[in-house]
């Protein structure tokens, strides 16, 4: 493609009043020899927009618009995919935040145009990745979540394969006697309805069910997964578009709760065992078959306890309320005691709580269970009643432990580490967290043949949740979505909503992939990484550092990219020491060219230059807001937006310093436990890499203070001016870059 550039400079919104636009234009016409360079007082108006449209008709294929922030007027300045667009932010980042008609403001504007031109010359239109995309959805797990995902995807017209490990569908729901009310007025126990759901699945011609089956191997990528299913000793090969993991939970191991008498006394059972008892008619205690007259429920049997399950399992309060009614409905003379920390019946479930509270034979005691003993033909639960401030003993024929749930995705190693921690006196929670990505699984679900391990990466406690509040379905393996209790503890009503959403995400992934487009968050992006393999040194950094496991590896450690797994964060591009990874619109060379386009004044002019790499989703908009609020800051800073701090290649640091740039500041999103980086690891990796760079600087007798890395939220726009000004003060203190005049 021959580049034909058009440069359009807007004079509106004070840009024309603050800058000498003739001089700005000369950057394009004289320095960059651009033939078409036009200035307009209101570029986003009809006339301005037509001016650009006309030139595109006449052959301009690369448009540089020097006006407001690229975040503004996006609908107006949007062109066919064959036209390259580069926006130069003269409004928010220049005239709204710097002194008008000032030499330094003028220099800033001119530099931004140079940088925009340097970039525009090297950006080319995307050529979408085109492969045959299969749109079949694979659902792993045939409980309520998996069956819901399967039915909902099929109803939207997609073919579904459903793989269930056990011989029949239904999961835990099929083991329940009744379910607590899910509909207004939330008073009556309901049938689980699971039989109807199983029939719906089995009767749907679009759903192929494999029961008694497991996944033996999953290779490939979204739109082109090859899945090997093992069933009755036979293997079936499936071509799959995207995957929903709905492999559910197992009850917490009650044998760990010996302080509550489980395993010691036969009449101490779990809430799951209570369902079996209720199915058999009258509730009789296991020891001697006597019909129970008193039942004590112990809530949080392991949950909310750092030595067992630190989290809350969400539905055990409601389950015990329901089981209390099993007892009172089957034996009107029986009494029930519910021993709890907090009763958690969110939203309209409060109505059901109220209904059970109205039962005369159900007693609620807020307290800590201290122990349990047997004698006189019944069990006695010792409770420290926190409301009355006294110890009480509750006699019961049967004690039900409301145990919590453990996701089936729990890495095995976490368990091992937890046990080790217990013996060494360390906090189990910390050990579990440390070992979360260990790569060993007690119940493998997917058996991925990925370079980065066989299952979805999990958070602490073993849930493969997204850890994003706004985007709960994001996982670190593109095209694989977790849903239901494997993702977070949730009740069956929530599982149904959740599984429907997961089905949409799975469908969306195959549709986006078929257009060569990325999935969340860069859903408009049709580029993908291109590797210049002749220069690859097999250093494995890209294959190790991609947060989404995009690369596989051959036996010689060459990276094998899977474009439909790619989320276009460019963290691999940042990691590559040979600089062989590029996108059509984002590459090491493109940003290097922008850096080199900055004019660096001679040392005696005393005008330092600083490059600021800003995360384009958070820090960059925050700087826009600083401009909108007319906050001012040092005009020696030159901003370059990056997709993620993790995409910063350290060669840019070298390029900038050798060019005479005095300092480099990088501002990205929070990392650590509550990471906000939308590419999971990007800002953390950047910080780690820059620590290494600072060591290198010291060896080159350059001050490590010349590089700073910050974490900033989009709402902290008020902090940016001070961050910049303080950094410039630091630079002034350490003095000019000694390489400046070379």
């Amino acid at each position: 493609m021959d580049k034909k550039l058009g440069v359009y400079i807007c004079g509106g919104c004070s840009i024309g009043d603050s800058l000498d636009l003739d001089k700005v234009s000369e950057v394009a016409t004289k320095e960059y020899k651009v033939e078409i360079c036009k200035t307009h007082p209101f570029l986003c108006g009809k006339e301005g927009a037509q001016l650009i449209a006309k030139d595109i008709e006449d052959g301009v294929n690369t448009v540089v618009i020097a006006a407001c922030s690229p975040r503004a007027q996006q609908e107006i300045f949007s062109y066919d995919s064959g036209v390259v667009l580069e926006r130069v932010n003269l409004r928010e980042h220049v005239v709204w935040s710097h002194t008008p008609q000032d030499e330094n403001t003028q220099m800033l504007a001119e530099d931004y145009l140079r940088m925009g031109l340097a970039k525009a010359q090297k950006v080319f239109p995307a050529e979408p990745y085109q492969e045959a995309i299969d749109k079949t959805i694979l659902v792993v797990g045939g409980g309520i979540s998996g069956m819901t995902s399967a039915v909902e995807a099929a109803k939207a017209g997609y073919e579904v394969c459903l793989v269930e490990k056990s011989p029949s569908l239904g999961g835990w729901m099929s083991k329940l006697y009744k379910q607590y009310p899910k509909h207004p007025p939330y008073q009556q126990l309901e049938d689980t309805g699971i039989e109807a759901k199983i029939k719906e699945v089995e009767g749907n011609p679009r759903i192929k069910v494999f029961t008694g089956a497991e996944i033996e191997k999953t290779s490939g990528a979204p739109g082109m997964f090859d899945v090997l299913v093992k069933q009755n000793g036979n293997q079936t090969s499936l071509r799959i578009g995207s995957i929903i993991q709905a492999t559910g939970f197992r009850p917490y191991e009650a044998n760990n709760l010996d302080h509550l008498g489980f395993g010691k006394y036969p009449d101490v059972i779990t809430n799951f065992q209570m369902e079996e008892l209720a199915q058999q008619g009258k509730i009789k205690r296991p020891s001697d078959g006597k019909e129970v007259e008193s039942v004590a429920f112990i809530q949080c049997a392991g949950q909310r306890d750092e030595n067992h399950l630190p989290y809350c399992s969400s539905f055990c309060c409601l389950t015990s309320l329901k089981q209390a009614l099993y007892v009172t409905e089957k034996n009107t003379d029986a009494s029930v005691y519910i021993l709890y920390k907090d009763i958690r019946t969110p939203a309209q479930y409060e109505d059901f709580y109220k209904r059970v509270q109205e039962e005369q034979a159900v007693f609620f005691t807020k307290g800590e269970v201290e122990g349990i003993s047997e004698g006189g033909g019944c069990l006695t639960v010792e409770v420290e009643d926190t409301l009355l401030g006294e110890k009480i003993g509750i006699n019961a024929d049967l004690v039900v432990l409301a145990v919590g749930i453990v996701p089936n995705s729990m890495p095995e190693e976490a368990k091992k580490a937890t046990a080790e921690a217990e013996s060494s006196g360390e906090k189990c929670e910390e050990a579990a967290e440390r070992a979360a990505d260990s790569g060993f699984y007690a119940s493998p679900a997917l058996q991925l043949k990925y370079r980065q391990g066989p299952e979805l990466p999990t958070l602490k406690y073993g849930f493969p949740d997204s850890h994003f509040i706004c985007f709960p379905y994001e996982t670190r393996r593109t095209g694989i979505y977790s849903t239901g209790c494997v993702r977070q503890p949730e009740d069956s009503a929530t599982c149904i909503d959740d599984a429907t959403g997961a089905a949409l995400k799975a469908i969306q992934c195959v549709e986006q992939s078929s257009k060569g487009m990325a999935v969340h968050p860069r859903t408009w992006d049709q580029t993908y990484p291109d590797l210049f393999m002749q220069r690859c040194t097999q250093c494995k950094r890209c294959t190790e550092e991609c947060p989404f496991g995009m690369y596989d590896e051959d036996e010689k450690f060459n990276p094998l990219p899977n474009p439909t797994r790619c989320r276009r964060c460019a963290i691999c591009m940042g990691s590559c020491p040979e600089r062989i990874i590029s996108f059509k619109d984002y590459s090491v060379d493109i940003i290097s060219s922008m850096l080199k386009a900055v004019e660096v004044p001679e040392e005696d002019e005393e005008k330092p230059r600083v490059i600021a790499f800003l995360c384009e989703n958070d820090a960059y908009p925050a700087l826009d807001v600083a401009g909108i609020n007319r906050l001012t800051y040092n005009p020696y800073v030159r901003v370059i937006p990056v997709r993620c701090l993790g995409s910063i290649n350290i060669v840019w640091i070298a390029d900038a310093l050798s060019k005479g740039i005095d300092g480099i500041i990088m501002i990205g999103c929070n990392y650590g436990d509550d990471y906000q980086c939308h590419f999971i690891k990007g800002s953390e990796l950047a910080n780690y890499r820059m620590e290494k760079v600072q060591e290198t600087l010291q060896r080159l007798v350059l001050e490590s203070e010349r590089i700073e890395v910050w974490q900033l939220s989009i709402s902290e726009y008020d902090k940016l001016p001070k961050i910049f000004d303080d950094f410039l003060e630091t630079i002034e203190r350490v003095g000019p870059n000694p390489y400046k005049d070379f």
């Binding site: 509106g12 007082p41 209101f42 108006g45 503004a72 996006q74 909902e152 109803k155 939207a156 509909h183 949950q303 630190p310 989290y311 809350c312 969400s314 907090d342 958690r344 019946t345 969110p346 939203a347 309209q348 409060e350 807020k366 409301l387 009355l388 849930f463 850890h467 509040i469 706004c470 985007f471 709960p472 977070q488 503890p489 929530t494 909503d497 959740d498 429907t500 959403g501 089905a503 949409l504 995400k505 469908i507 969306q508 549709e511 986006q512 968050p521 859903t523 408009w524 989703n617 958070d618 908009p621 826009d624 509550d674 906000q676 939308h678 939220s713 989009i714 709402s715 726009y717 008020d718």
Partner: protein
């Protein structure tokens, strides 16, 4: 923005409500490949979350996720957004709905560049509803620097109109048009997602708690604005009566919720909301004593981690007990919170400088009259709907952001199924 004439498609999905649930339903459906119309009543998208300072449990900024969603909207030609748009009528059936939408005039057209010159000359002020009336804006204003759409808007209730016209003369871009009038537009769509969200319970109904009478009794939603850098106090937590930095504060949980005289249900988010606001105090007023009165702390799932973290804050006293009354010293405007401390088995009376009422969620849809086969529960939440119309988020039950997003994603699929079936689904 939307082009009204082009909407006549049984294959399109109408999303009512532009909060986090509506935005999610719209974007998720459009990224599968469907045409979506997104209606929002206020002049900006984001709804309640756009007015939150931070989300629990990560204490991150709502605009971070909104920025991603806005970019998804701006780059997706399949989504048409109408703000200041309210639904007037829906008729028809799955695959074939006729919808009438009322568009309130913005008085500012798409020429607006958000340069702000109009604000400088506008002589009229109004209470800032985005900040729950705690400060003022001009009659022409931008809701928030990060809001979308970015166009300014005129509050026609206070604008003196053509006789003033100062903004019209100063605008270099002919963006202000005071002759705009209310329009009624018709659309044909295949299915509908109701994501009409919630509003805070009217705290003045809680007589014993003094809201509306005592200036230093505020609500949880007001606290969010107070803690926000772009809020009425620039992020400082101060007493409304005298602007003094707060040294002691009480949170009153279930202010209306779980109360048969007010909202019998649990509002599901207020426990975590208050625990989060305790962290605001911890960060901004680290010496302040904090008292939190509760019935049960409902931190479900791994939100328990956040509860545990906040429990570790040494200036926080958690008191299990329902607050009976709040009194004010008319001189100092200091407050006394009276409650039954059930753990101690005695009445407590705690003097504090400010009180935050954790008021509950009320479904906004309860106010809207829609002639469609939707049934509501006793509280006004959507209980069931005909095929073709799907409730999402807080229109059907109180829920936090993450669960609302999940639910809205599911609703998007249901809406797609209705379009695929072309009315043959139900």
């Amino acid at each position: 923005m939307g082009n009204v004439e082009s909407i006549n498609s049984p294959n399109s999905i109408l999303v009512v409500g532009g909060g986090i649930s509506g935005i999610t339903a719209a974007v998720e459906a459009a990224e599968v490949g469907y045409e979506v119309i997104l209606l929002e009543k206020s002049p900006y998208l984001g709804g309640r979350v756009a007015r939150m300072n931070q989300y629990f449990p990560k204490l991150c900024a709502p605009y971070c996720g909104l920025e991603i969603n806005f970019r998804r909207i701006k780059t997706n030609p399949r989504i048409k957004v109408f703000t200041l748009a309210e639904i007037e009528n829906i008729s028809g059936k799955e695959g074939d709905y006729d919808v009438t939408v009322k568009l309130t005039p913005r008085m500012v057209n798409d020429n607006c560049t958000a340069c702000g010159k109009c604000v400088e000359v506008c002589p009229v002020e109004r209470l800032n509803d985005l900040n729950y009336g705690m400060d003022k804006t001009k009659a022409i204003y931008a809701p928030n620097p990060l809001s979308f759409p970015t166009n300014y808007v005129i509050d026609t209730e206070v604008c003196t109109g053509a006789e003033c016209s100062k903004c019209v003369s100063v605008c270099p871009y002919e963006a202000i048009d005071l002759s705009m009038t209310t329009e009624s537009v018709h659309m044909k769509v295949g299915s509908v997602v109701m994501a009409t969200g919630w509003k805070p319970y009217d705290a003045t109904k809680l007589d014993n708690l003094g809201y509306g009478k005592y200036p230093n009794v505020i609500t949880n939603v007001m606290m969010e604005r107070m803690a926000a850098t772009d809020g009425p106090t620039q992020g400082k937590i101060v007493r409304p009566s005298d602007g003094k930095e707060v040294k002691s504060i009480a949170f009153v949980q279930c202010a209306g919720s779980r109360d048969v005289n007010h909202l019998p249900y649990c509002s599901a988010v207020c426990c975590l909301g208050s625990l989060k606001q305790v962290t605001y105090i911890q960060e901004k007023n680290p010496d302040a004593k904090v008292f939190l009165f509760y019935i049960d702390i409902r931190a479900t799932g791994y939100l328990e981690d956040f509860y545990r973290k906040v429990q570790g804050y040494e200036n926080l006293s958690l008191i299990k007990g329902k607050v009976a009354k709040i009194k004010e010293d008319p001189q100092t405007k200091d407050l006394t919170v009276e409650a039954e401390d059930v753990a101690q088995g005695k009445k407590v009376s705690e003097p504090v400088e400010m009180v935050v009422l954790a008021t509950g969620l009320v479904p906004s849809i309860a106010d809207i009259k829609i002639a469609a086969d939707i049934t509501y529960d006793d509280y006004g939440f959507i209980a069931s709907q005909p095929p073709g119309i799907y409730a999402a988020g807080c229109s059907k039950r109180p829920a936090d952001v993450s669960n609302s997003v999940m639910d809205a994603t599911g609703a998007a699929l249901k809406a797609i199924q209705s379009v695929v079936a072309g009315g043959q689904n139900g």
